[in-house]
């Protein structure tokens, strides 16, 4: 670690997410799957509400008990006030419903919208195209922003393995829908094949024959119909995607990258931090969940052999001495783990500025109620006025 790195880390560790909670209009929590994004998002939203800001948390797939504590018993697509937390509302994202709304908005008339929604390919697409969920999350985000009801909107991104999908989603989906390539090779179903064949040469025809043999004929017809019904709608999609992108890059937005101290999650966090930097997206900070607490300073510097000698001596004695011996061994084991984690965090942040770096220690149990969220919040942003 260079001294410049060390200085950046020290500064980041001294800061927390207080400003994010107090000022950001949009907070996007992102990171690998299973790192505690939903909990972090809920805790930040609770903090923003406690600061007197009208807040909504949009969540994708919360654990059942956390959902219950937010007052979301079933998958509901409308904002609900969270009981026990003034100024806080919560809602879950219903993908299919949001996609239908998008189609309704962009379609030139209801019959066209109906034609798209009843297409077999659309029905598959709304469930399975990579990036769809992310795109829909952003659609909803934009809606909530546009409605102007909330001071602060907190969103927990879908649990994709590759968190980058979230940023790429609008581009990917519009690219896909625009489908230059697909239109090209579907062309014979749509237009005169000969023109296309001439334009791109012999290769395309060969590939199309192969492709239709792989997929069968049905899929090509459905796809053709699908793309035809989208004709004229791409521009609307594109503009919308660009508006979302602008909103996310504006200074009122703040990304919070969530991770655990384990190498795979940290690698994704690093990738994402660099990507935010490249795209000029505003970073609020990094949250390291489930960190093993670092040992007390004086024990941390104690000589390992002295500890072991003391533990050996105590182990032969009465109950309380044995407990003391085992506490020393527990300390040794946790200190090893904490060292490994700290090294992994430092390595992952090499050459990037995390702005704020907050570690949330692992708790004895799962966080699933408001008081648990408040506890997490105290680590994330300190006490709120």
């Amino acid at each position: 670690m260079t001294s410049r790195d060390a200085a950046i880390l020290r500064k980041a560790r001294a800061r927390d997410l207080r400003d994010v909670v107090g000022q950001a209009h949009i907070i996007v929590c992102t990171g690998a799957g299973g790192v505690g994004k939903t909990t972090s998002a809920a805790a930040l939203a609770l903090g923003a509400a406690a600061a007197g800001r009208k807040t909504i948390v949009l969540t994708i797939d919360p654990a059942r008990r956390l959902a219950q504590s937010l007052g979301l018993k079933t998958l509901e697509h409308t904002p609900r006030p969270v009981r026990g937390a003034e100024g806080l509302e919560a809602m879950m994202l219903d993908m299919k419903y949001t996609f239908d709304e998008v189609i309704d908005r962009h379609a030139p008339d209801p019959s066209r919208a109906q034609r798209i929604k009843s297409n077999r390919f659309y029905q598959q697409l709304s469930n399975s195209l990579a990036g769809t969920q992310e795109y829909m999350a952003m659609e909803k985000l934009y809606d909530l922003h546009h409605a102007g009801t909330y001071d602060c909107i907190v969103i927990d991104t879908p649990p994709t393995r590759n968190a980058l999908d979230f940023l790429d989603a609008p581009r990917r989906l519009t690219d896909f829908l625009e489908g230059r390539f697909l239109k090209l090779f579907l062309a014979p179903g749509l237009r005169a094949g000969r023109t296309i064949g001439r334009a791109v040469g012999f290769g395309t025809g060969l590939f199309m024959r192969a492709a239709s043999r792989i997929t069968g004929a049905g899929v090509l017809e459905d796809l053709g119909d699908f793309f035809q019904s989208f004709e004229g709608m791409y521009e609307g999609f594109k503009q919308r995607a660009q508006a979302v992108y602008r909103l996310l890059s504006s200074p009122g937005s703040s990304f919070v990258v969530v991770t655990t101290p384990e190498a795979p999650a940290l690698r994704e966090a690093r990738y994402f931090l660099r990507r935010l930097e490249q795209d000029g997206m505003p970073l609020g900070g990094v949250v390291v969940n489930r960190a093993t607490p670092r040992p007390a300073a004086e024990l941390a510097h104690a000589d390992a052999e002295a500890l072991e000698a003391a533990a050996r001596q105590l182990a032969a004695d009465g109950t309380e001495a044995r407990v003391a011996a085992k506490l020393l061994h527990l300390h040794r084991d946790l200190a090893d783990t904490a060292r490994r984690e700290q090294r992994a965090v430092t390595a992952a942040l090499h050459g990037v500025d995390p702005v704020a770096l907050v570690e949330v220690p692992r708790f004895g149990g799962d966080v699933h109620d408001l008081s648990g969220l408040e506890l997490v919040g105290r680590h994330l942003h300190g006490p709120v006025a």
């Binding site: 690998a32 799957g33 299973g34 790192v35 654990a63 059942r64 008990r65 077999r120 598959q124 399975s128 195209l129 990579a130 393995r161 390539f181 697909l182 290769g203 590939f207 192969a210 492709a211 043999r213 792989i214 997929t215 069968g216 004929a217 049905g218 899929v219 459905d222 796809l223 190498a263 795979p264 690698r267 007390a296 024990l299 104690a302 002295a306 500890l307 003391a310 533990a311 001596q313 105590l314 309380e320 001495a321 407990v323 085992k326 506490l327 020393l328 527990l330 300390h331 040794r332 084991d333 946790l334 090893d336 060292r339 490994r340 090294r343 708790f363 004895g364 149990g365 799962d366 699933h368």
Partner: protein, 324 residues
């Protein structure tokens, strides 16, 4: 099935929620299988280069390479699979050259859902069926660091989902032969990895149920990072109720370790948190055993200031012990 039976499974699909350590478990299982003399291949899907980092080798790719005696590694990606698939079925290098480019892969991976998985699992099936000149199977054991369980469930529903879109053609036929392999208990077994925490346990129960309903064999649930039970009952009681911080400081002092009460308090706090975690662990284990008949296989938390090939080796020891 028992943990011992895992050795006879030709394809183990190691799956689970993000962050539970399924890659580590897959690596440990593969090492253990190779140690018993089985020619084994460890397969990474959607290359993250997790294994090459873990084992300190060159980056893995689409060719199978022996990185330890009897242990091969392979990293699968849809693009390379698509190229191979097209060559296999059409014998045309020209086609594969033509389609391997972003647009074509975009088609294969997004336009027709399921095709990506047909390609990935198709490669696994090819390896599973591959025979040497003497007629014996080339690999005894194939361990796949598989995608999250939801994807596997979707794939098993593929005959409906894929044929929804792909009604004729070789993919339809391919998809069916892959489902046949996945559903054959003599050939394939899903291994779900979990932690003894609420969300992973809930997901494991749901996934087991979903896979079973689709007819897939589910092996013992692999519980990763199980904390040791350090404190005996009387010690536990002393730690919870009786031990006061000043007393602990005095006891340590008596053993030649000078600590102030703050440090002693931290030791106590850590100890009590540990007990809470053990309680959670116990209740989660109970929940698993109550709802599962496939049994549990537990791997311990490894306390080390590094986690690399040696530490995975320690976990492999556990599999080997279970097989003896």
């Amino acid at each position: 099935m028992d943990t011992a039976d895992l050795l006879d499974i030709r394809v183990a699909l190691v799956t689970g929620k993000g962050g539970v350590g399924k890659s580590t478990v897959a690596a440990a299982l593969a090492i253990a299988a190779a140690r018993t003399g089985r020619r084994t291949c460890l397969v990474e899907v959607e290359g993250r280069q997790t294994f090459s980092r873990l084992f300190g080798t060159q980056p893995w790719d689409f060719s199978e390479r022996e990185f330890r005696p009897g242990l091969y590694g392979l990293s699968l990606d849809p693009e390379a699979s698509l190229a191979e698939y097209l060559e296999m079925f059409y014998g045309a290098k020209r086609i594969s050259k033509l389609v391997v480019g972003n647009a074509a892969v975009e088609f294969a991976t997004t336009a027709a859902p399921g095709i990506k998985d047909v390609l990935l699992i198709g490669k696994v099936r090819e390896m599973e069926r591959r025979r040497d000149d003497d007629g014996r199977f080339h690999y005894d054991s194939i361990v796949v660091d598989a995608p999250p369980t939801g994807r596997i469930v979707n794939f098993l529903r593929a005959p409906e989902a894929t044929t929804e879109l792909v009604s004729v053609g070789p993919v339809r036929h391919q998809a069916q032969s892959l489902v046949d392999m996945l559903l054959d208990p003599a050939r394939t077994c899903a291994l779900l990895v979990t932690l003894l925490e609420e969300m992973p346990v809930t997901e494991t129960l749901e996934s087991t149920e979903a896979l079973r309903r689709l007819g897939m064999q589910v092996g013992p649930v692999v519980v990763n990072r199980v904390l040791p039970r350090r404190f005996a009952d009387d010690e536990r009681k002393a730690l919870t109720d009786d031990l006061e911080v000043e007393h602990l400081a005095r006891v340590l002092d008596g053993a030649g370790l000078e600590v102030d009460t703050d440090a002693a308090q931290l030791l106590l706090d850590r100890g009590r948190e540990e007990l809470a975690r053990i309680d959670l662990q116990d209740s989660m284990r109970e929940r698993l055993t109550e709802h599962l008949d496939s049994g549990l296989f537990e791997l311990p938390e490894i306390y080390a200031d590094d986690f690399a090939a040696d530490e995975v080796g320690l976990l492999a020891d556990r599999f080997e012990e279970a097989w003896q």
